[in-house]
């Protein structure tokens, strides 16, 4: 099953490699990983999308908590949450395709952030499924480049992950 694990970690050199090293050493899977400092510069917030049985996820959270730099760990998928991912995608768009692509971007509520004579670059946010759907709606051959950030997540309501 897919899980989103949120981590607050000391913003120290090498902290990221401790987390990544743990996942590879113990054979856990990482689908996506995002990390950046929080409003408190001494802390980083990390979101890892992973999958595994309940036992495996329990071990993942326990093992993460063992890391000295890790302050808090939460499995977001245990209760309601919001999840977003950002994608930048550049594709070939010429002639009458340009109008068509503009319309499709609107349907997906994306934004065109750069144009050239032959290309569009689109910014699109949503959960992973929405981004996949957009890619599927394009002609594969026209895609020049895709950049995805991986998921970031946050709990719904008043639950917060804070020191």
């Amino acid at each position: 099953m897919r899980h989103i694990v949120s981590i607050l970690i000391e913003n120290e050199a090498g902290a990221l490699s401790r987390v990544v090293g743990l996942f590879s050493a113990r054979g856990y899977n990482i689908e996506t990983l995002t990390v950046a400092p929080t409003e408190d510069k001494s802390l980083s917030r990390m979101t890892i999308v992973t999958s595994g049985s309940d036992e495996v996820i329990e071990q993942i959270t326990k093992q993460l908590n063992r890391l000295i730099d890790v302050v808090k760990v939460v499995d977001l998928t245990e209760s309601p949450y919001n999840e977003r991912e950002l994608m930048l995608i550049k594709f070939r768009a010429t002639g009458k395709e340009r109008e068509e692509m503009k319309r499709m971007t609107d349907i997906f509520r994306g934004r065109i952030i750069d144009v050239s004579e032959k290309t569009y670059t689109i910014e699109l946010t949503g959960d992973g499924g929405k981004l996949d759907a957009f890619i599927d709606a394009l002609d594969r051959a026209s895609i020049l480049e895709t950049v995805r950030t991986g998921s970031s997540g946050i709990a719904r309501g008043e639950r917060v992950l804070k020191v």
């Binding site: 050199a13 326990k62 063992r66 000295i68």
Partner: protein, 573 residues
Amino acid sequence: MELTGAEIVVRCLQEEGVEHLFGYPGGAVLYIYDAIYSQDKVEHILVRHEQAAVHAADAYSRSTEKVGVCLVTSGPGVTNAVTGIATAYMDSIPMVILSGQVPTHAIGEDAFQECDTVGITRPCVKHNFLVKDVKDLAATIKKAFHIAASGRPGPVLVDIPKDVSRNKCRFDYPKSVSMRSYNPVTRGHQGQLKKAVSLLLGAERPMIYTGGGVILANAAPELNRMVDLLGFPVTNTLMGLGGYRASDPKFVGMPGMHGTYEANMAMQHCDVLIAVGARFDDRVIGNPKHFAQNPRKIVHIDIDPSSISKRVKVDVPIVGDVRETLIELTTMLEDGLAAGQKQNTLGLEAWWKQIAEWRRKDCLKYKGSDEVIKPQFVVEKLWEVTGGDAFVTSDVGQHQMFAAQFYRFDKPRRWINSGGLGTMGVGLPYAMGVLKAHPEAQVACVTGEGSIQMCIQELSTCKQYGLPVKIVNLNNRYLGMVRQWQEIEYGSRYSQSYMDALPDFVALAEAYGHVGIRVEKPADVEPALRDAFGKYKDRLVFLDFITDQTENVWPMVQGGKGLTEMLLGAEDL
């Protein structure tokens, strides 16, 4: 007054009460060695290979309750130390490893003797630090000692670039450490403890299974008290030997791959199992699916939440310091009994009868001989000659299992071996570490002709520091455990397990300035041991016992098999 980083390192060690430092110098740590030179509070022990420095510091810690400390240089100094660090990590031994690093401006430039120390050691330390500014040095070392010794202990490495050890700043050693990201739980959950009490008092076929956590938490007296109160059978894992006194009839021996028949049968057939500071390791419970076939309630006390329900699903998890938790649990049990709660005495009687029946198999019996020395016989004699009160270090292999089975440990921290990583070569440096901590003690290193050669150079260190280790070499001219597996599982194809071209160990010991004795007849075993611990008490004695080449360790649970699928001897093959 300002001190150099090197002086700060030494002052920190003094503040931590460190008396012995095992190490080996090199370019990146020369300032630190210079600071060591001009003081006499911390004694430095110069080993012959960095691996031995780590092992010795590790055993120093295992045999006391102090944090072991060692010092190595950058690059190859660190890579040589890695085996030692990984060994300590697997057995949760509190240690601080100080390593030199190339100067900060040279890091990343492939400088001479540079390696990514923090990267290389990351997976085998509890935590590590690279100190980039001398101002952070004292606080970092304080943290290192705190992290190493608290919670589930483990090795912590502090990497110190050469310029950091040269630069100066004011020395201020912090009195305490507070870390928002690291606060181990020490007190068990009350509700869970209550559940444990009612399970234990109601148990019909109880079993107490304890591991290295009892030793590390100094909880042997508390464990003895609880076992004696309840009158339950108890087993100690390889890492937990000495946790409960082996001479008491309630001790049913070690469990696991080479555990006793009665311990394994009781582990499998009990209805309430309490695991204390143990982790249901593959060498202890064998195949977890097979283990789970028998229904039983499991209580698990451990300081590390990740050890709980890792391989075996547990009913009552109790996260806490083993010693504090055992004190609390025993008090609650006493209160319960005083308030009129009853143990299931009828059930317990029947259970002990069953255990007595299993015991009658006499699973550790072996065929004695007047012609050829049996390895088990040597360990039995060692136990007799030392009054069962020696510190015994071992290497890894058959001799390790024979020592664990036949030297009956009544006290904790007497049995020093590499349980988790299974590192050959630890025995001799382990004995050095023990002797630095207990200079008057009897210390035997039970080893084999394969293992001893992996750190044999330390005979020189022993000479320099006058360490009277008694090396009990069970020399069967085979990598015995490899040979045993090849006999049982690989059609007796003894691929690369015969030890050819062995040195003359007696001459070798003498060349290093020690006493060497070769023993080839069973009748000479005891006199040789008596000489080693008597006449040559103050000398290192290398006892080269020429033993039965084909003796195997029984019982045996083969890899992937269940605990009750034991082979009791060659006749079961």
